[in-house]
């Protein structure tokens, strides 16, 4: 479905509300108060849909100064974020380009979230590893400053090694599952020989002990999955430095489509795709391929400022106009 309207009309707003309504949180901000219309007390998102043949009804209510509430088919959920376990939504926004263009931290964050979406039991692993690492680093600094000891460091080294090894293994699995699908989708979109490369050493208590003096000097743990990178390649080219704008965009899009396929395989239902401003910088041929491929992924909403950006059936066109009463949907 193509969402068309002039700049500032509220297209991104529409996609964001669908994300909040299906996932319980915004992809843009952690501050829920930003989601409420200026000067108003609250906001409500009510969605009716069809999931694998059965009806779903989602309600998310936001209120200034109160916790948000969500319900699924009339049953109240303990936390709005629980919607994530019920309905899958994947989103592309221009901000996502940092996954390819940005530093290693942006890619780690992306693949860690992807592994959490793919294997919910491991979703907490990156955060747990980060917590153990912060404790070990605090202990390292404590030793240098003379108020902690190597004995007291030991249990944190063990935790960091244990959780770090699990995190590396989980990332390897997640990337191995995404990689062939990513390469195939990128190939269709005209990005040949695309690949993901994750070369990481699994940490162990012994390897951390071996570099203890160096870690004490820097007051931080200088090796482990918190420093890893995932290279996004086309042939021998690292797209971070050598990709064109359009190629970088295609790579992010191919990652998203790859994950959509995994979600469909694992949950039996394709995710809702929200693609904000994905078409700019893509040539007409690639837009056509994208338009051809997307229906295979279930429901997708794409925003654009220009109605001619993508050829679609008239009943697949949603026009958004700015106005007091809100949006006009057709």
């Amino acid at each position: 479905m193509l969402v068309v309207g002039p700049n500032g009309a509220g297209k991104t707003n529409l996609l964001e509300s669908l994300h909040v309504g299906t996932q319980g949180f915004s992809p843009r901000t952690r501050n829920d108060a930003n989601l409420i219309r200026f000067g108003r007390e609250g906001a409500r998102i009510a969605l009716h849909g069809n999931r694998a043949g059965s009806l779903v009804e989602l309600n998310v209510v936001l209120q200034v100064g109160a916790a948000k509430r969500a319900s699924l088919n009339g049953a109240r959920l303990q936390a709005a974020e629980q919607l994530r376990g019920e309905v899958a939504t994947l989103v592309f926004t221009p901000d996502r380009l940092v996954v390819v263009k940005g530093g290693p931290a942006a890619r780690r964050a992306y693949f860690d979230r992807a592994l959490g979406r793919g294997t919910p039991t491991q979703a907490a692993l990156p955060v747990e590893y980060g917590a153990a690492l912060a404790q070990r680093n605090a202990s390292l600094r404590g030793i240098s400053l003379g108020y902690s000891t190597r004995e007291a460091l030991r249990p944190w080294t063990e935790r960091v090694a244990d959780l770090g090894a699990k995190l590396v293994a989980a990332r390897r699995d997640a990337i191995a599952a995404l990689e062939p699908l990513f390469a195939a989708r990128a190939g269709e979109l005209g990005l040949a020989d695309a690949a993901l490369r994750y070369e990481a050493d699994s940490p162990s208590a012994e390897s951390l002990e071996a570099r203890l003096e160096r870690d004490l000097d820097r007051g931080a743990t200088g090796a482990g999955p918190h420093l890893d990178d995932v290279e996004i390649l086309a042939g021998a080219r690292d797209l971070r430095t050598f990709g064109s704008q359009g190629e970088q965009r295609l790579a992010v899009l191919a990652l998203l489509l790859a994950e959509a396929e995994l979600v469909r395989e694992r949950r039996g239902v394709p995710p809702l795709l929200l693609l904000d401003d994905v078409l700019s910088e893509l040539d007409p041929e690639r837009r056509r391929i994208l338009a051809e491929r997307l229906p295979a992924y279930g429901q997708a909403l794409i925003t654009t400022a220009s109605a001619t950006a993508l050829p679609v059936e008239p009943n697949q066109l949603v026009e958004v106009e700015a106005g007091e009463a809100g949006t006009v949907l057709r």
């Binding site: 907490a124 747990e128 917590a131 153990a132 912060a134 404790q135 070990r136 605090a138 202990s139 404590g142 108020y147 902690s148 000891t149 004995e151 007291a152 030991r154 249990p155 944190w156 063990e158 935790r159």
Partner: protein
């Protein structure tokens, strides 16, 4: 606000764990409406607790005497000590009625980020008790979260070779607090404790 006294009460209540401003207001107005004796009974209960209650010299549990009622109890098994983070965890373990040994309350868990190092916990006291008192087994019942696990690992390193060391079996909600575990789960975890 209408009165500085109410403001002050609300501010004091807000400092309690789990009490936000909204609840604090509700409690404050409840106390205002309650009969004077009833409200003052709460005040004097708080005062009593602060004046009379102290830590058991042996195990660190709360008591009004030198030694707590558990350390005083001749029927308890003195060869086994269960190590917990806080007195409230001891109460949880007691509720299971599975355990007949003694306790040792550490007063927290190791957390370098919060500046909690071994010397801030009652660890030397524990090692001293193990040296002196014919203890055969130490059950590590710190919380099954990151700081609790690290504390258990640290203690296990210190105690291994001197005494049998066990850890509560899983079955506890991971990342949880002993305080909130129900009796059945905690009882099962206790009877299935394992060597570490």
């Amino acid at each position: 606000m209408v009165s500085p006294a109410i403001d002050n009460l609300v501010a004091q209540l807000t400092r309690l764990p789990g009490v936000g401003t909204r609840t604090a207001h509700r409690l404050a107005f409840h106390l205002l409406r309650a009969p004077k004796d009833e409200a003052l009974a709460l005040a004097s209960a708080v005062q009593d607790v602060k004046e009379r209650v102290r830590f058991c010299k042996e195990c660190g549990n709360l008591t009004e005497e030198e030694l707590c009622s558990i350390c005083e109890d001749a029927r308890r098994d003195r060869t086994i000590v269960c190590v917990v983070e806080q007195p409230v965890d001891l109460i949880s373990v007691e509720r299971t009625h599975e355990y007949r040994g003694l306790y040792h309350v550490l007063g927290g868990a190791l957390s370098p980020l919060d500046g909690v190092e071994p010397e801030h916990l009652r660890i030397d006291e524990l090692l001293g008790r193990v040296e002196r008192n014919g203890i055969e087994e130490v059950v590590l019942a710190t919380n099954p979260n990151m700081t609790g696990e690290a504390t258990a690992a640290f203690l296990a390193d210190r105690l291994r070779g001197r005494v049998r060391v066990t850890r509560l079996a899983s079955g506890l909600p991971v990342g949880g607090d002993l305080e909130y575990a129900d009796e059945v789960t905690l009882g099962r975890a206790l009877s299935g404790r394992r060597e570490i």
